[in-house]
Amino acid sequence: MSRAREGSGVPGGPAVSRRTVDLMLTAATTMLFLGFLWLVIGQPGAFSAQAVIAAGFALIAYAVASTWFYQRWIDAGEDRRRGS
């Protein structure tokens, strides 16, 4: 069989399998958090408290937003595949 096209099932979606997208998203999330830790802990004093809190809250917001958008994205792909 050929490599999956429109792997997520979303019109105009990337030409990779869902598995590849999931692994890329996981790697990005991991890098975001570990990068934050490395910057904040590795360079104490380099950032103000307000900046650290803003970045932290932004990461938390990312955690929520990414799950919501991802869920809708996969749902849309399933609906499309089932023709609904």
Binding site: V64, D75, R81
Partner: protein, 558 residues
């Protein structure tokens, strides 16, 4: 050592504070708090009524393990949040911010950041491939007996470590909050959790989690709003006040007061990222919904509730730095907070709302502990009856009524063992148990789930060797770390320099599993590799492979 316990109850947040760095002081002679007991009795009465109704609807294994798979996404999201938002999140993290300031933001993010990972990698895949426990997934194309035996060992290790930490902490915490003797508190928790689970199964456990999550969110919001009002809802004002009031001065606004070493911080970060994805009582929740789509929806709701709560608790801890400063009634003679820093949120509730708010918040905390241990107990009982009895011992020739009976007997046995462990470990420093349970969850359960779902080449031999390497290395590194080698065994210096082993144990598991799989030339290994394509299709669609599928779900990955 007694007050290492409230630190430990606080589980994964408290675990980071192993070694007594939180600075706890002995518990005072606490008068019986009738307001707290009254509110708690209402909660217990409500949960027992729920259990009674649930018991009438719990006749099959499907109902006992998975609540019949009938929960909605919102309900299961609340229940997952209830499982995750333990006393660790509430008291542990607010105490951590109160003591160490800005490092608390790392814990707040850590508690939220694992949910995208669970969403991307696991939620619907675990639901589509399994029935009752996550081992259904790992054993899907690998040797059933070998995988379930290994999985049961790691799951029971995680559950009993965390259960013991919870019981010891619960006993000490309840002693402070309610003025009850330690053994009475531990026995009360053990008996109640056994009743909930053995009679009501997953249905009762789920609704207890939902109610508990609801009251925790409401209680936290009220306390947070009352605290923020003192600063005119201004974050800048709060930060400036904290730097003036804290013994750390302006350093309280700088990260690194607790997590000074970047390698230790990264190891903790990996445990936060991948540990929750390997917790058996969390994974089990994906079977309480009808399909993969609802499982994904559950994670969305759970991430929302958990993220919101993390922010609220962080702000409560930050506010406590200023508001508790100078309030001598909350400090012991040695200048430390009475009952330890983990009591910061409770002292704050008393300061802001008097005895009644303290009573409500105390009761919510007790309810939180009770709900978490109920979830752990159900997970342990399912491991015994579903993974060990039904699959390994009965070899699939299961008798449903007998399996449920075994589940209920296992529940009572787990309850008795938990009470015994709670009493035996009363005077021990158990903070390492929470660290170890999260490390094993990340290094064994998550690693095996990840490889089995995303790598066609995984074989039984690879999974077994990798799992054993992860389990043994996690245990050895934690035993050689300061939390056990110095604090429990009394040695002068740790042999392993970091508090968390995950940065070493997780890659080790993956490497050993890959190498052992690649070198496996057996016929069984070939069959297991060949079965991956079918597993992949089912994991992503919930349906058997169909050649008429559009290419979106076709793959040439093997």
């Amino acid at each position: 050592m007694r007050l290492a316990a409230p630190c430990a109850v606080l589980g994964w947040s408290g675990a980071a504070l192993a070694g007594g760095s939180l600075g706890v002081s002995p518990p005072p002679e606490t008068p019986v708090q009738w307001q707290a007991i009254g509110v708690f009795m209402v909660f217990v009465a409500l949960t027992l009524v729920i259990t009674w109704f649930a018991a009438k609807r719990t006749g099959s294994t499907e109902e006992f393990y998975s609540a019949g798979g009938n929960l909605r996404g919102f309900q299961n999201g609340m229940a997952i949040a209830g499982d995750w938002m333990s006393a660790a999140t509430f008291l542990g993290m607010s105490g951590l911010v109160f003591t160490f300031g800005m490092d608390g933001i790392v814990y707040a993010i850590g508690a939220a950041i694992s949910w995208p990972i669970i969403m991307f990698l696991l939620s619907d895949r675990v639901r589509n491939l399994g029935r009752h426990t996550y081992m259904d997934v790992v054993a899907y194309r690998l040797d059933n007996t070998a995988m379930r035996t290994l999985g049961s060992l790691s799951s029971l290790t995680i559950i009993f470590l965390y259960l013991t930490a919870q019981m010891v902490g619960a006993g000490a915490l309840i002693q402070i909050l309610f003025g009850l003797p330690y053994w009475v508190a531990v026995t009360l928790v053990g008996v109640l959790m056994s009743i909930y689970v053995s009679f009501g199964g997953m249905l009762a456990t789920s609704w207890i989690q939902i109610i508990k999550a609801g009251i925790l969110l409401v209680g936290g919001t009220i306390l947070g709003a009352m605290a923020l009002a003192r600063f005119g809802y201004s974050l800048d004002t709060m930060l400036q006040s904290a730097s003036t009031a804290s013994p750390l001065g302006r350093d309280v606004l700088l990260p690194g007061n607790l997590l000074g070493d970047p390698v230790a911080a990264l190891s903790l970060g990996l445990a936060f990222l991948f540990g929750p994805a390997g917790l058996p009582h969390i994974l089990m929740r994906f079977y309480t919904v009808p399909d993969g789509r609802t499982a994904r929806r559950s994670v969305s709701w759970a991430s929302l509730f958990i993220a919101y709560f993390q922010i609220v608790v962080f702000l409560i801890g930050l506010a406590a730095i200023t508001l508790l400063a100078g309030q001598d009634q909350f400090f012991a003679g040695d200048g430390k907070l009475i009952g330890g820093a983990n009591m910061a949120a409770l002292h704050l509730s008393q300061l802001l709302g008097g005895q009644w708010l303290l009573g409500v918040v105390s009761a919510v905390t007790f309810a939180t502990i009770l709900a978490v241990v109920a979830g752990l107990t159900l997970s342990a009982a399912s491991t015994f009856s579903h993974d060990l009895y039904a699959t390994v011992i009965a070899r699939g020739n299961r008798d449903e009524r007998r399996e449920i009976l075994i589940s209920r007997v296992a529940t009572v046995a787990v309850g008795l063992v938990a009470i015994g462990l709670g009493i035996v470990f009363e005077k021990q420093n158990v903070a390492f148990m929470a660290t170890l349970s999260l490390a094993v969850a990340a290094s064994v359960n998550f690693a095996l789930l990840f490889l089995s779902l995303f790598w066609a080449g995984l074989t039984t031999r690879g999974a077994l060797w990798g799992g054993i390497a992860g389990l043994v290395s996690s245990i050895v590194m934690v035993v050689l770390s300061a939390a056990v080698w110095v604090d429990v065994l009394g040695n002068a210096a740790p042999l392993f320099p970091y508090p968390h082993p995950t940065i070493f144990s997780l890659p080790l598991t993956l490497a050993v599993a890959v190498l052992a799989s690649l070198s496996d030339r057996s016929a069984r290994a070939d069959r297991e590799r060949a079965a991956y394509a079918g597993q992949l299709a089912i994991s992503e669609t919930g349906e058997q492979p169909d050649t008429s599928l559009p290419p979106a779900f076709a793959t040439n990955d093997r």
